[in-house]
Subunit: 401 residues, 2 copies
């Protein structure tokens, strides 16, 4: 199967929609499966436009809404793709024989098992779902080594590193440096961050993304998760993965070689670049993006991250150093805490306080089976939920004083 026969897990999300735009631009990409969650309306439109063999969505309810939508759009049931649902449906989309590349772009833990199955089946993985590597990098990398599956990162930073490393040997790499925009609170005081509103936190300076990842960018947890992701993708320990704050997001990441040379990848901030790269690698093909105009941008700045104002980054390094199930526990805790912040239940800095308590309390087990990883995930979620509640109780008590 060529790498341009693709299945998209998470086709109605931001990466999914951009993948379809890239497919259209390239022309010779064959969309064999589209898997979405609950957005039956958009999935139906995508099916009509791209004619996949298989479509997957969240559940039976969504399947019937999808069929209604397809009919409404004038598709005759003879032209319907095979429609499946649930995790089983995602796994089917991820492993079908016609598929060469799986674009893994679901949000959160749901993409985990299907992506692992795709790796085991030797598919190329265009990986946008960083949680899968954070939770179970050990399993993923071992599976890829076994099947020969290539994992091509779609996260702009890791995609940049992949590009910087094309002509280099890992044995000649001194360290990799992930760039971070610094988020909306880069120049804010600790006090301002303490009182940050949801609206302020969602106002990301350079990238337009979903809510969860935007909050993670505001707390630098996103960069922490990327450090863990980089550890698995490039096989380096945490002390050889650095982060530098670069507000313009023009340099997407860098590699420092043993001779001190630094290779950087730069570009415009559009995720279609990394998606296309992952679909066409090792070829590079023209795309419709505007060229990078450094003279117009004029200035690139760099500063060290401030771990005092952004403790989540240090917490991620601690989880990576603890190893085993600790990153999975951190990821789960962070999902719960970010959700609680988005729901107005806790303040922004409370996210890092909860994550820190959880990682420090976590007793890691080896993350060499799906069961252990999922158990750590479940346990961390319920502990984080309890910490959210405790924090609310404390805050309420303080407010009463």
């Amino acid at each position: 199967m060529t790498s341009r026969n693709i299945s998209i897990l998470g086709s109605t999300g931001s990466i999914g929609c951009n993948t379809l735009k890239v497919a259209k631009h390239l022309g010779d990409v064959n969309v064999v499966a589209l898997a979405a969650g609950n957005n039956a309306e958009l999935l139906a439109k995508q099916i009509v436009e791209y004619s996949p063999k298989l479509a997957a969505c969240a559940d039976e309810d969504c399947v019937s809404r999808l069929e209604t939508e397809l009919e409404r759009l004038g598709a005759s049931s003879a032209d319907f793709p095979e429609i499946v649902c649930g995790e089983e449906g995602l796994v089917k989309a991820a492993t079908m024989e016609e598929c060469g590349t799986v674009v893994s772009a679901t949000v959160g833990a749901i993409g985990f098992v299907p992506t692992l199955r795709a790796i085991e089946a030797g598919k190329r993985i265009a990986l946008a779902n960083k949680e899968t590597l954070v939770m179970a990098g050990e399993l993923m990398i071992a599976a890829a080594a076994g099947s020969g599956a290539e994992i091509l990162p779609v996260d702009s930073e890791h995609n940049a590193l992949h590009q910087c490393l094309r002509g280099e040997k890992m044995s000649e790499v001194r360290r990799i440096v992930l760039t971070a925009s610094g988020g909306p609170f880069r120049t804010k005081t600790k006090e301002q961050i303490e009182n940050a509103t949801l609206e302020e936190a969602l106002d990301h300076p350079t990238w337009d993304m979903g809510d969860k990842i935007t909050i993670d960018s505001a707390t630098l947890m996103n960069k922490g998760l990327e450090v863990i992701e980089a550890h698995w993708l490039f096989g380096l320990d945490g002390d050889r993965i650095d982060v530098i704050v670069h507000p313009q997001s023009v340099v997407h990441s860098m590699v420092e070689l043993v001779d001190g040379s630094v290779i950087a990848q730069m570009g415009v901030t559009d995720m279609k670049h990394a998606i296309q790269y992952a679909l066409t690698y090792p070829e590079r093909l023209p795309n419709a993006l505007p060229p990078l105009d450094l003279a117009s941008i004029s200035e690139l700045t760099f500063e060290d991250p401030d771990l005092d104002r952004f403790p989540n980054l240090a917490i991620a390094y601690r989880a990576l150093e603890k190893g085993g199930t600790a990153p999975a526990a951190l990821n789960a805790s962070n999902e719960v805490a970010v959700r609680a912040f988005l729901d107005g239940r806790i303040s922004l800095p409370e996210i890092a306080r909860i994550n820190g308590k959880l990682v420090d309390a976590h007793e890691p087990e080896s993350a060499d089976s799906l069961e252990k990883v999922l158990a750590a995930d479940r346990e961390a979620r319920s502990l984080a939920e309890a910490l959210v509640e405790a924090s609310r109780t404390t805050a309420a008590a303080i407010n009463r004083v």
Copy 2:
């Protein structure tokens, strides 16, 4: 012969001395020949320290001074290397069988024939003498294609491009971008440049180099010569070779691929980096240079070059487009004009006026033989000298008014 058996043409110059430091640092480099001009004192010290089999210098007079120096340093004549002189001596150093890599670091046209002979003999060339490619790129590249000689650029910009291109195909390159510090007159007005003193022109902001190349940096002719050099090294036409002014000289150059991705090489400004790279390629080895600290540097800026204040850059593109012997003629003209400026005979902007007149008047012949190239060089030198004299006469007449 391994690439670490080296002959250095121009061992007492800045690149030559740095090459010996790199050789010492690497430990396993065997210096088989040292060729210098007239600096018998330094050459003698280098011979005592590095024990080459062959030493070459300018002429018989220098040979006897060298022997005296060697005796003064306590070397017994039985330990003397074979000592040769003249172009023949340089050619011998460049082609001796024991030599795997020739570091071509003489200044100006003198290194031309020996470097060509080394290419014909299939040696790896660590090329620091850009005049050789500017004058006779066609001959050099054809000879390298014939013998299989590798040409590894030591100029920091071209070395950077070589690094950026390690993992890329030339067919997937959209353009290359050479960075320029902008020199000491980057922020000066046309009038200030018109009245620039020698001292101001020699005050280069980021690199410490010889006088000729420092003046070339002040007029941007250095970048123009580098555009021509890049044309031959990477096989791209002038319209795919751009220049961007980057005063911090941290980004040494960049490659833009067809997908819009930009790969940049960065590092500290020390020519030992590029020299070591050329000696050890494709390996990268640790060196003693400090790491690049972007957070301390904090800011990188970029601007388009101003061809009105720095017309030499446009003149170089015109010479490249004319082709054939035009770049050789420009190089000769520029050497004469810079010498005249260094001697206080003409003003700084007069260099570009002379170069411009010469290139526009030049009727290029094909540069497919050494004779034609050298004839163009001679002719351009005498025409440029006449233009220098004419300019002095005019200036004197104006002063009399």
